[in-house]
Amino acid sequence: MNDRGVGASIPRKEDDRFLMGTGEFTPDVRIAGMWHAAFNRAPIAHGRLLSVKAPKGAEGQVFSSADMADIKPIRSTASFPGFKGADFPVLARDKVRYAGEQVAIAVAPTRAEAEDIADAIEVEYEALPAVVDMNDGREPSAALVHDHWADNVCCETEFANGALEAAKEAAVHTVHRRFRMARQTPFPMEGRGTLAHYDSRLDELVVWMSHQLPHPMQRGIAHFLDLEINRVRVICPDVGGGFGLKTHLDGETMAVCWTSLRLGRPIKWVQDRLEHLICDADCRNHQYTMTAYTDEIGKILGMEVECVVDAGAYSPWPWPIGVEAATGVGNLQGPYTVDALKGRSVTVCTNKPPSQPFRGVARPGACFTDELTMDAIARTVGREPWEVRLDNLVPPEAMPYDTVTRKHLDSGDYPEAFRRCVAAIDPEAVRERQRTPEPDGRLIGVGFACFYEQTAYGTGPFGYSAWGIELVPGMEMATVKLTPDGGLWASVGIQCHGQGLETTLAQVATSELGIDPDRIAIRHGDTATAYAGTGTYASRSIVVAGGAVAQGCRELKPRLARIGAHLLQCDEAEVAVENAEVRGPGGSVSFAEIAEAFYHHPENLPDDTDRGGLTVTTGYNDKVHGGVFGFGAHGAVVAVDPETGQVEILDYAIVDDCGTRVNPLVVKGQVIGGYAQGIGNALYEESDYDENGQPLSVTLADYHVPAAPMVPDIKYDYMESPSPYSTMGIKGVGESGAIGPVGAIGNAVNDALKGLGVEIAETPITPRRVFDAIERGRAS
């Protein structure tokens, strides 16, 4: 038995190259003759574009939308009610709709020279009033972001299930709150980047991209440039983080591809941090208005919610505007047994960069809303929030459980995860501590959050096909091949940008075939090597690509058995395929010997050797299209300094369950990485704009990404409730850690402030917001 397969905490195979500095990220790729691109960008948030003029001497090095008549604008589609289409121009055309929108591309031998030219391009604008806030954008008097629309609302969805009127009538308490999440950016350490190069031998445009979705980008680039798919290859090499940001086709990439073809020259654009913070896609800018109806002890009977999402100026491709809002409403009941829910979502266009999903998509917003509501309910009914939560959580005996929003929760003991989290935090001890004032005057609070994480979902209700979008993820494919020396090569259509899939997918194969992970090469991120796939997002890759790799290995087994039995001169029924060998009654042959026979000594093969050889291309198609559900509970103890408004996390506990853990080390790493981002979400990160739509958080002096001292150690525990539906019971875990912190920390802060009779309902919970709340409390 090889004990390095599924379940083993082996160090990652990919670590070596990163630790030695020999990884290869898009900015590291160089091709002879390569030039660099820089963009001229709009200085205003909204205005008519009157003219673009290249500086003298640089005429052949500057291109604007007028030059690119042969590029199709990026257009996304959806079947959401009232969904309004609007082109996302590759370079601004007629109008600019957010500060930093790309207006012209400049190319030169070095990036510095390209920036010199981009700086010197003369652009004339006629400024227009900017729509900055989503609520203002809904007013009839608001300026129109897209002139051909009647208003700025670009999509509205409604959802109702269960007997809400009956719930209202039965309710003893009604709890009403409004919550708001600030705009944020996913902030991968490596920004976007694209290097396009026309390979004349293959008549193929080769595009290196820092991206999560190689195949969709291949399709998009081909489509919008009007090329055959055969003529575009997308390579996503090492990618320095994505978190959802790198899932849309950006105009800059299209402009780089076009310019490279036009000039017959490799062109590279590396997004810098200023570009990232000024004008790359933002996320999380949601507002939730929640009314919860409960019985006497706080059991929720029904919910009524409105979710408004600030979509920014354009709908990204392939995932359009509306996905965020639909996901927000579609998860608002959380892991609780709510029987009636009526929800409405409104997505509003504003003069800000387009919004994109970020780790957890809208679930952190939904979690913030339902978890802070839960604590508000507890305060209303006069019970402890952990008691009220336990009364509302889906009990294990109800599994599988269909939520009011039609999520099919597959397995697990949610209350047990929560009880463990409560035990780790010991809120009774916090209550005891709260009885005496702290020597330093700070206020102590404790808070919890429970959530599920919908992973690897596909086409089910509230899944991609229900949204009527262009690219619906379905079957995920893998090719596995026994190499001539008995190793395994597997190629997948996902893209790994930190998740450790080169290791964990190998571990899946190890469990199937017994080949050591060190002898398994996982290839990803390249449309030329992977048969098909839609990339890495939605916590799906280990479930779907893992399922596909496992299936490939399983389909290889009978072929190996056939040849092995022949070499062993025994009957196929007598052999076992395991431990990288085929074992028969009288001995065994290694996979290497079988491969040697297959590739180089066909004279030793049985006549009926499978024509597929030692290569299998096969797929994983989920049995349930709504995905498999990880879940967890987070608990936080905080100290709030009433003098400065600063919040310090004193204690934090996470209990997580992602079904079968393929590599516990990697699972924990994913959870902790999400937790750190959740802290940023809860306390620090905000992409702020002034009243004219000018971005205010454009350097790291203003945009506060958590550093090590802001991310304290945690108490970590896990449970393993395998999914009945996925291969090996694996569930995804990529997003889970990022969902809980806003809820747990928000509740802990509000618990600390409860003596003042105030609540915080907006992220990030900055010192200023805390101070303002305290002032409000003192004033009333």
Binding site: D15, P27, M189, G498, G669, A708
Partner: protein, 157 residues
């Protein structure tokens, strides 16, 4: 163009460069040492941290011409260094690497902590890491790795 002579990973390199060229771009573009990454180019994130005359420094806000006469060591230049080998091994075991983009800068800072502050506890390690952002790991694995490296080096010496 201005001439600059820098010892890069033990080898003296002389080049005529534009004064505006950063040391980071000099290493990446002229020397092909792409292990040094940039992620902010304004000194905050730490991705570009290299060793300059034996001390960590930001290569994004150090001009190549201003590094004239210095000794620079990048992530590619630690062959034969036992301390760095230990740190790397601890990073691997503690899962202190995810996407790997921050890693070269992290290693430079980790080396500085381990050698300059052998008594550092977890809080001090965190404080010293505050100039190196990592968006993937949540730092706990990195703190674990540095703590273990300090203990191993202490125990070994």
């Amino acid at each position: 163009m201005t001439s600059t002579t820098i010892t890069v990973n033990g080898r003296a390199v002389t080049a005529d460069v534009e004064p505006r060229l950063s040391l980071a771009d000099f290493l990446r573009e002229h020397e092909g040492l792409t292990g040094t990454h940039t992620a902010c180019e304004h000194g905050v994130c730490g991705a570009c941290t290299i060793m300059l005359d034996g001390r960590p420094a930001r290569s994004c806000i150090t001009l190549a011409v201003a590094a004239h006469g210095t000794d620079v060591r990048t992530v590619e230049g630690w062959d034969g260094d036992g301390t760095m080998a230990t740190i790397r091994d601890c990073f691997r075991k503690a899962h202190a690497v995810q996407c790997g983009y921050c890693t070269p800068g992290m290693l430079a800072t980790a080396y500085d902590i381990v050698t300059r502050l052998p008594g550092a506890d977890r809080d001090r390690i965190r404080l010293e890491l505050s100039g190196n952002l990592c968006r993937c790991t949540g730092y706990i694995g990195i703190v674990d790795a540095i703590e273990t490296a300090i203990a191993e080096i202490e125990g070994g010496s």
